[in-house]
């Protein structure tokens, strides 16, 4: 039995501890916002937070989550109120959208650590997240915009 919290809810699961967290989240917990893209930590579509750190859940065994607090895209905000989600809407970031959960989860850690990120900071933090549709210029703009929202207050 492995126990951890997911988006604030406690879960205890009978599961092979070597199973990647990604598949537990998606198929056992039914939280399908976290995506499978490569299975080898190359694309970032599976990014979630474990105790606030961005983790590629496709290569993280579920045992790593034991006793931790896991946040998925469904838990980023209950109501699209996260400044990044608001900025993503304002900049029309998504095209197909498949990678965007991972993009948002990576960006959330960046923004927490660097409230006013430079373009170089964004490159460094987001380089592990592939977007095949090519929404990168909008991702960049949206991160800057979210940073401004936070700086001006009124956003978390």
């Amino acid at each position: 039995m492995i126990g951890f919290s997911v988006n604030g809810k406690r879960v205890d699961l009978e599961v092979d501890p070597s199973t990647p967290l990604l598949w537990v989240i998606r198929e056992q917990l039914g939280l399908t916002g976290t995506k499978y893209g490569c299975g080898v930590a190359q694309c970032g579509a599976c990014t979630v937070h474990i105790n606030g750190e961005a983790v590629r859940s496709c290569v993280a065994p579920v045992s790593r989550a034991a006793g931790t607090s896991v946040t998925t895209i469904e838990g980023l905000s209950p109501d699209l109120s996260h400044p990044l989600q608001r900025a993503w809407l304002e900049e029309d970031v998504p095209q197909c959208g498949y990678c965007q959960s991972g993009q948002l989860m990576s960006a959330a850690v960046l923004l927490r650590e660097k409230p006013a990120p430079s373009d170089e900071d964004i490159d460094e933090a987001m380089t592990g997240n592939i977007c095949r549709c090519g929404t990168y210029p909008r991702i960049r703009k949206a991160i800057h915009r979210a940073a401004e929202m936070v700086a001006k207050g009124g956003a978390r």
Binding site: L29, G30, C38, L89, T127, G134, R140
Partner: protein, 756 residues
Amino acid sequence: MTQIENVSRRKFLQGAFGAGAFVLAVRHARFIPSILAQGAPLDWQSEADRAAFHPNLFVGIQPDGTVYIIAHRSEMGTVIRTSLPLVLADELDADWKRVKIDQGIGDKRYGDQNTDGSQSVRRFFTTMRECGATARLMLLQAAAARWNVPAAECSTELHVVVHKASGRRLAYGDLAADASHLPVPKKEDLQLKKPADWRYIGKGAKSVDLENLCTGKAVFGMDARMEGMVYASIEHPPVFGGKVKTVDDQETLKVAGVRQTVSIDPFKPPAAFQPLGGVAVIADNTWAAFQGRKKLKITWDNGPNETYDSAEYKKELRETSHKPGKVIRSVGDSDKTFPTENVVEADYYVPLLAHTPMEPLVALAEFKDGKVTAWAPTQNPQAVQAIVSSQLGIAKEDVVCHVTFLGGGFGRKSKPDYVAEAAVLSKKLGRPVKVVWKREDDVQFDYYNAVAAMYMKAAVDEKGKPTAWLQRSVFPPISSIFDVTQVYGDPPHLAQGWTDLPYDLPSIRIENGPAQAHVRIGWLRSVANIYHGFAVQCFTDELAHRAHRDPVEYQLDLIGPPRTLDFTGVTYPNYGADYKTYPWETGRLRGVIESVAEKSGWAKKKNGKGHGFGFAAHRSFLTYVATVVEVEISDDGTIRIPRVDTAVDAGIVVNPEALRAQFEGAAVFGTSIVRTGEITAKNGIIQQSNFNDYPVARIHEAPAHTNVYITESSAPPAGVGEPGVPPFVAAFCNAIFAATGKRVRDLPLSSNGNFD
């Protein structure tokens, strides 16, 4: 690992935490009057079908005023689920805030649904307008009857019919029941709005799916679930056309969660959209299926393609490109001996390219009582119906294909082999099956964009202008997947930036040589325009530099004065569009060239060491595009693209912001092609497998800023999704030359240049 499922009365499940975006219920067909209806309805009803007032297949209005509009094309990021319904809503004078979009299933009564070829808007612009206008006219007639006034005295405002003389108003919802009893008007009686009266067309709207895409709620194929489903992962024959000789699954069956293995028959040539065959591992969850595959011991009969070596093949293509080929188009005295003085020659090469949409291929299907229900991220649900029906021996009408969101498509998801796999397995197992391809499967078993060799030759005068031009391309054709004897380029793909060379020169000869396919060849975003545009636009740049002339001025000189290209006696399919409606007008190409030159400040650009600007222009999918790319290359070879400027004439543009997004994305897609896009094969086996060895552009490699300039136009709408790629690829390579003096003739840079 045990599968925990939330079993509800709904057949299609979301997980315990998820929110449902789709509802599948048992629906009963009824007669639906339609200006488009052909063929029997399937056992399924859309929200529009079920509305109180449903004058045609695409729209329904409920008494509460809710307007349902069908999106019959697939959403893979082009915002088509918004843009086409927006056209209907415009003619209906509907309040967009009260419109709900319902995704259509695969159904030939909708007309073409292959969301491919950048043709959704142009093919259905008029249809959507007519569907909206039909509903509007009937609502207006219903109001007139209620008020007992002539319909001519009534008009519509946002979601209401108005009788100005008496000041009376009736909301659309209040008229839905009355309107449903009226006869559907004839097409000739419809009055379409004047462009000046358009509410939404040209202004656009945000994607209706934006919020679901930013919260993880959007349901992609990967997220579809059915009660009682099992998961399958398939070990395909490593060489195209190979077969299973022996299987030992003893170790596989010991993996926790694995239920069994199932063999899938090899395809009968031609491959088309049939499953490739192989061995499927059936499991309680995806991970167990993946793990089980690792333990399979299979011996293969690889068949004749095991001698395929892409390095050798490249040499063969090049040799063929140096021999006379089939003449596709000839202008002037091109059949005479080519001049021998002042001749410039160059060879260009583009390798096989994979699609790698972010969502690997996946499909869910249930065979039950002789019928199939599928949920799939497909660009072409009618092709799903066709292949599933032929594989299972059932009628097409007995295949209900629901279209989920697509995590990217780029042409790969127009080929439904993966959906056929799910249906075949479900029939064998008697329960719903979800087939999940690993990324490695996606890379190794693609329908690749054709590898191509282009030979270019020009004889030039004292000003460097060609007096004779020869271009010859050689590539295995897409038609080879439908007919194994096909080795020459098929006319629709030769027409992509090759047959239609727009230059005004005294002698032009356009040829194509034969090439045998050894893998599945398919269309990928921009298709043959990628390699044709690359060769023509880079060779033109070479000639300009050789003549010490400005590349923009030089190209305008070659294009000559504005005219309509004359293809009399030439096979020119023009992207399936009527040539009178969509003629090839060089004036429009000149227009975007002049626009991008002005907007980018081309005349003031200075190329220097490690810093340069490249230019290219290309018409594809009926849209005219010119692009300027800026590159910076550091001493260690690192390439940056600070800025891209691109000017677009796509005729009437429904959703300008969506167009900008597509051209931004096209620049990134093109960046991947130029930098690292290459699939190779040894002993018939594809050597790449994932993003580590088939890299695509990441944020720091992508263009930092892409400026898109849209030409105001009243010409009919043209393509938007694909036309940005070809001129970007060529302009990027031309910029590298401007910055380094090094010509890029073989793609990608990672294999052929000193760049990383």
